[in-house]
Symmetry: C2
Subunit: 216 residues, 2 copies
């Protein structure tokens, strides 16, 4: 198909597709004339993925480039893809704060992982992420909120297991890798949405219980 | 305390505190001289909260202003605070797409809520958020990932329950409201971190099971 057909098939405007090509997010088409190229179904798929990463995942161009690079690695194992995609998707880490509070929080996260029996590499960005949250809670005198750490771990395990189940149900290697990356990307806004719904439901439930009203 | 003492107590530089004052995120101190004001413990608490909202929550100034406005509403109920804070914390919604796919996704979310027995208002931003994710999955031919919706709902319920438990354990009304808002804000990066850890743990576990190695 031509560029304008690729645009119609994906709903992405031609100038945006040209931008993806210039930024090398999208591989060049097959040149058929000096000023014309032919694009394939693989291009349709890739354009949709890029748009999803940017619009739904809210990823920066640099992160999209990182994810695409992972997708295009030949013969890489799923487990490694997940790890690489996690790093590509993690918000850029500011330098690890060199404070006693942060070190203590980091150890607390390590202790929780041990207690859960989770084997996680020392470079997993989640360690610093969770430690940063704990450090903030301490700075805000909100130690009572550290009680959410363990339930959050259980919740995250349920979510991650569902994702892996879906990933493993995909057929060929390309689809498996793409499903893994998309699952990671949409998981964040989906969890945010679900929490918003769950919070309203539960707080209404507790409110009606506390106020003694029969139903609502 | 004076401005420079407020800076020392919070670790936030004086120019940043002046910026918070100018932006009316922080109430003015009590004027003691034409060029000097006195600040209280309430200011320390508020400065720390603003910094956490911006640095950990990644909120825009507009969102911080929205959250602060909710905190400062006199006599507002916790349930309403949660709802208002959710709206303040939700990413600005682009106009709801007027497409058949989006409408179908919206109905699918409604059906799931009914099935779960969750009572949630039609204005809850989570409805559109979840529908947007479903629409994306359809556009990407990743219908298999819609299987994560229900497990995500259960995971979100566990997370939200833990937050509400922590919130209810806070003593006075101001602390309750502050805990609720901080819990909402840190919940997002915390869940992201925990998912990252859970994904590595589970994918390593499955990989070793599939490859038949005894342990790792």
């Amino acid at each position: 198909m031509r560029m304008n057909e690729l645009s119609t098939a994906t709903g992405v405007p031609v100038p945006t597709i040209k931008f993806y090509l210039r930024e090398r997010l999208l591989p060049a088409g097959e040149r058929t004339h000096p000023n014309q190229s032919k694009y394939s179904e693989a291009h349709v798929r890739r354009v949709r993925l890029i748009r999803a990463l940017i619009e739904v995942g809210g990823l920066s161009l640099a992160s999209v480039r990182g994810v695409i690079a992972v997708l295009d690695m030949p013969g890489v194992q799923l487990h490694d893809v997940l790890g690489l995609a996690q790093h590509a998707l993690s918000p850029p880490q500011s330098a690890t704060p060199d404070t006693d509070d942060f070190r203590a929080a980091h150890q607390q996260v390590g202790a929780l992982l041990e207690q859960l029996g989770w084997h996680v590499s020392s470079g997993n960005p989640g360690r610093n992420g969770a430690a940063a949250v704990l450090t903030t809670l301490t700075a805000l005198n909100q130690e009572r909120l550290t009680s959410i750490l363990e339930p959050y771990a259980h919740a995250a395990e349920i979510a991650a297991r569902a994702e892996l189940d879906a990933v493993e149900s995909a057929g060929d290697r390309d689809t498996i890798v793409e499903t893994a990356v998309i699952g990671m990307v949409v998981g964040e806004p989906l969890m945010l949405a679900m929490r918003s719904l769950a919070e309203e439901h539960l707080s209404a439930q507790r409110l009606s219980k506390n106020s003694g009203s029969a139903d609502c």
